[in-house]
Symmetry: C2
Subunit: 713 residues, 2 copies
């Protein structure tokens, strides 16, 4: 794959001079706002209003045409009627302007004429190299440098801070920035991507990954213009340790599609988005509240080293609320170590045995009446070796007690590398509490679902970072193989390889197979069977009969030569009846694998994201529960482990119903080998389906019993 | 079951006179607040402050002892130190006071001494008939009649309205009432139950069910003091059509327990709480935000007739957000009928074919620039026969357009019986929009998760009401049976009935069984087998060997007499080796049911809620996925249907893998019969386990293949 190219967004986010084309004085009209905001923010570069019917706007000399401006212009904001945008844009290009915001609507979102205008914008960007934000957007704001190229009223309320916010929809950007502000989440930049005629959401995100004023990125997106770019940005963000929270709509549409499709095409695109988020530690959220909650945690907390959550609370009920919401997440509520338990119990004897969760309001709130004891309680939890994150819960107590409690939390958080978060179901703190709390830099949540989502996002990002570091250390030993030669051979193959051919190809990658050979006669079959050893399986071998069961051309558990001879003739007869024109190569005589648990390993091409690896358990697990896991390539070892453990039926691979654990190492090995194949041969292979892969008991390996490879074109 | 008795809460919620015991002037101390609030609210009855060290408090004559008060007193608020509460309480009883709020802490929540004090409170209530709220609570407020018996600062901010709010925790009550107010949800009453020494959460809820000022009830509860009362209140609320939203913590604890337990004991209490909520239409929520959202929908919307949701929106992205969150809920997004489609397409031609969801901002917002067109668009959706509920989504548009759009929604909602809800991801409306919106009585949500939860709660409550009405019409035909005689026989049985005995009992209720009989010799077995017809199954029949597979005392698929004789001897031999002291009654010869899908039907006793009916699919469905559904008795036909459809693997009972649909009517029949048995014999039977019940193809019935009944004691 060739590397993804990104635009230089310097002229857009940090222009040295701006032209505002269509500028007027009236702040009630869209055309009046960009200049007002640029001036209000105190932009330090030069501003050139452009309007054929004005000589002055807000006291600035106004040019009748952008070409009349005697100096160099970096960026333009265009607020003229949609019909004249194209002309203006061409003049901008001619003037050598490097970036433009098209701040008006009337393009693809409107009608067919609009769609054509928009296509022309895309062409102009490509031909001239000028980069374009919009159309149908309200622009952007560089908060720290006070550079406004737009007119969203969010500009009036945004807090300065370290979150970069990219929204596909300008309207939803305006609607939600005030809510970030209400929660105390400040921003470095915000931008509405609009119709994305040229620049798209992940171009902006890419810029923010390397921005020094941005510690975390929040994204609202409805679809991917360039899925490769999303994948690449996800990878880069993880490499640079920049956490991303993403609200992407469209889960349900895909779910509907996925429900319709069968095993082979389970790799529905939205499920792949989930897979990518898991692999790269992106926090995918369900609504704007969660987007804000997770952003706030990413901004204020370091990545935890693990998922062990200690809890201190002034309410038992609130602990339960959080614990209930944490079901099915990665949060692991752990007790303190025995050393800390012993010591803390001595220092805080009134509470019985010290433990996490610790109810600080118990025992008559003894530990909050004395700041020293409050500090001790918080520190025993936060410093314990068993605990990676501290969740502090605050509910109304008598005033002095609450203040001591918050004071202790704030102090402990400052002195520790571990993340501390506050859950306050009351919705807000009292003034005197808020004053103390403000001295720390701790995220506060008032909703248990959001609190848990934020903790889970921190844990998952921390884990992704750690795994990424481990992967860097690990050098893959390449499978020595002449890939070009394989491709050469595949060029002459039929589109669907026969089972035997499929297995030969998989064998080249070291994937273990059942012993088997093709027989052209019953006698030859008997000879092969005696070499393999009974019982055996017989199957027709034909390009033209990929679904052997439908043709009744497969016979299991054949235990002697007489049965074998009968089966041979039956298979040939059934196949000919089923597909009279089928070219039959022979009959496959195969080792019968009786023990073992059935799993499915597959590779398919997602139309958006390319090769996707699929794992599932055999039979009803996939058919009834759609219980599969997906990942994009390349797969790391940790990804392969996750895939296995993610399926709900994973338990049957563990010691189960009197059976020992299955050979999960063997499964991981196959997943990594199929990933390797997808990378090497993904441009010629469309689908790989190993179904079933029989997994023997631990230490005994795995065997592919049936396999199907489909080539592209 | 004898009917649940409820206290008369009139003297507590509507007392004609109040004593405030421990009253002082200082509004900074708890003891100073109840009098202040009672006066501030303008209480119209008589107030008697009681305090041995005062003669006047806030200008009112203060008595040194409650017994000194010369007039009758209905209720008392007690704010004296915990140590003196018991004395005061006894004086109150002596005075003839009917209800008391104990507004101080220092009881079971503190230590062992406190626990003893609290037990004594319970005794006093029982002995004297005085009803007690608390201790460890901040009391209650009757909002409409301005009667305050407590000191929660929530009194200062609560809005008058029609929600009754009962919180087990006084602290969380204070914390959350302001949040209800911020959302515009007004209340009729609120009460903090505290430690529930006497009155418990569902006593208050019971009172509110019949209260004319209360249209819906919100409940926060941590556990059930009296589970029977919860069940009874749930039933009553449905009968009286009063919707309840409930936040109950403790899901996760039970989930942990449930994970540990095996099939037979899956009826963990929290899962039963879910079951009761489903049966009775209670909306169980996950956090306070959802509690507020659902309460607001219950207050402002009628019950919808069905689950078909029409959508009108000014943003495509916001539609996607809601649709994503609606996955797995009962919301059914439907298009309009073809009649409306045709007509509306003519009236609004610019949008292409009219449909739901309808994007009113499409086509250049044509339909919002003209109030007539906006009205038409909204009305076509709301009045359509295919639509039960209208979801209107509003995102920023140009001002005039938004106002027309909101105006049309408000008007349409007023003229229709169908519920209309508004989703506004921007978080709040602009002033001029809010003014129009306020003229309607439409719930507004700013979070897609909460919006969906509220819609789902409306749908589920509407459905429960409808089903309840249908059940009323349906008169159960009783199974003619002498229950007392059965009980008599069971008294002499061993605790665990043998398979054959279990089946005999089930047969009495008309549950179809495999043909079978007990043989005492191989010859007798052969005779029975030839009557039943081969193939047959042989199993040991012994009280002492309930787990026949473990003993290798079961042989399947015996196809002739020679095999049968061998199997007979093997079973006897294996059984004797497995349990040398077992009393072996003989060998059961049983019809072999080969076709059919395996399901499990069971009954068990939940320690809190009594008889619970369980349904699941056989094998890994239950063992791996814990995929079961539960309901309490009595089961309605609709409950039985729901139970079946609720399991995730339901699909295998439908036409699946080339098989026709299974006989689901047969399953419903068995569930209802087991429910009947649980009602008749629940006091003597502890457990029923029909596993497997073989379900044949549609129209061919079901057969219990194995069954086990365990008696109580």
């Amino acid at each position: 794959m060739k590397p993804v190219e990104y635009p230089n967004l310097g002229p857009l986010f940090r222009p040295k001079s701006i032209a505002i084309i269509g500028a007027t004085e009236d702040p009630k009209r869209i055309a009046g706002l960009p200049l007002k905001y640029a001036l209000d923010h105190g932009y330090r570069g030069k501003i050139f209003p452009v309007n054929p019917s004005r000589d002055l706007v807000r006291g600035l000399k106004c040019y009748h045409n952008v070409l009349d401006i005697p100096e160099e212009v970096d960026a333009a904001v265009i607020v003229v009627p949609a019909e004249t945008v194209l002309d203006v844009l061409e003049q901008c290009a001619q003037k050598g302007i490097k970036a433009a915001v098209i701040g008006v609507s009337g393009f693809a979102e409107l009608d067919e004429d609009g769609r054509k205008r928009q296509d022309r914008i895309t062409e102009i960007a490509k031909q001239t190299g000028m980069r374009i934000c919009g159309p149908n957007t309200n622009g952007l704001l560089n908060v720290h440098e006070s550079i406004s190229l737009g007119y969203s009223f969010a500009q009036e309320v945004v807090l300065p801070g370290r979150l970069g916010y990219v929204s596909q929809s300008g309207a939803l950007l305006s609607a939600t920035v005030p809510r970030f502000t209400n929660r105390g989440v400040g921003m470095s930049y915000f931008v509405g991507a609009g119709n994305q005629a040229d620049l798209e959401v992940f171009d902006y995100v890419r810029y923010l990954i390397d921005d020094k004023n941005t510690d975390a990125i929040a994204v609202y997106v409805e679809g991917f213009n360039n899925p490769q770019k999303f994948m690449d940005v996800a990878r880069l963000a993880l490499e640079r340790r920049k956490p991303i929270a993403m609200l992407k709509v469209g889960r349900s549409e895909m779910a509907a599609k996925a429900a319709k499709s069968h095993t082979g095409s389970l790799a529905g695109s939205d499920a792949v988005v989930d897979a990518i988020c898991k692999q790269k530690g992106i926090a995918r959220v369900n609504d704007f509240d969660e987007l804000m909650a997770v952003s706030s945690a990413f901004l204020k907390c370091r990545s935890p080293k693990g998922n062990r959550v200690g809890v201190i609370s002034s309410s038992g009920g609130a602990i339960g609320m959080v614990a209930d919401c944490a079901m099915g997440t990665d949060l692991n509520f752990t007790d303190v170590s025995s050393e800390v338990k012993e010591e803390a119990t001595k220092v805080l004897p009134w509470y019985g045995e010290f433990r996490s969760p610790f109810d600080i309001a118990g025992a008559g709130s003894k530990a909050t009446q004395d700041i020293g004891l409050a500090r001790a309680a918080v520190n025993y939890l936060l410093s314990d070796v068993n605990i990676d994150i501290l969740l502090a819960i605050i509910t109304p107590m008598d005033r002095r007690g609450t203040q001591n409690y918050i004071q202790a939390i704030v102090e402990a958080s400052k002195a520790s590398e571990k993340p501390v978060v506050l859950f306050s179901p009351m919705g807000s703190l009292r003034e005197e509490e808020a004053e103390i709390f403000a001295k720390g830099d701790i995220p506060m949540f008032t909703d248990s679902v959001e609190c848990v989502k934020a903790l889970d996002a921190l844990i998952k990002f921390g884990r992704a970072v750690k795994r990424h570091e481990e992967t860097q250390k690990f050098t893959e030993s390449p499978i020595p193989m002449n890939i070009e030669k394989i491709k050469e051979v595949l060029k002459t193959s039929s589109k669907v390889l026969s089972e035997n051919e499929s297995k030969e190809l998989l064998s080249l990658y070291g994937i273990p197979m059942t012993k088997e050979a093709i027989a052209k006669s019953p006698e030859e079959a008997a000879q092969i069977a005696s070499q393999i050893g009974y019982p055996v399986v017989l199957k027709v071998d034909s390009f033209d009969i990929p679904h052997k069961t439908d043709a009744d051309a497969i016979k299991l558990n054949i235990s002697n030569q007489a049965e074998l001879t009968n089966a041979y003739h039956e298979i040939i007869g059934n196949s000919k009846r089923y597909a009279p024109d089928a070219k039959i190569r022979g009959v496959l005589v195969q080792e019968m694998v009786k023990e073992g648990r059935e799993v499915i390993v597959g590779m398919s091409h997602d139309p958006q994201f390319g090769p996707v690896i699929m794992f599932g358990l055999g039979g009803i697990f996939v058919e009834v529960f759609n219980d599969v896991s997906l990942r994009i390539v390349p797969l790391t070892r940790a990804d392969a482990e996750d895939m296995m453990k993610e399926v709900k039926g994973y338990k049957i691979l563990e010691a189960f119903r009197g059976k020992p654990e299955a050979d999960v190492e063997g499964i991981i090995d196959i997943l990594l080998k199929v990933s390797r194949m997808a990378i090497d041969l993904g441009d010629v292979i469309s689908e790989i389906d190993i179904n079933p892969l029989m997994v023997l008991d631990k230490g005994k390996g795995v065997k592919a019993v049936d396999a199907l490879i489909v080539l592209r074109n």
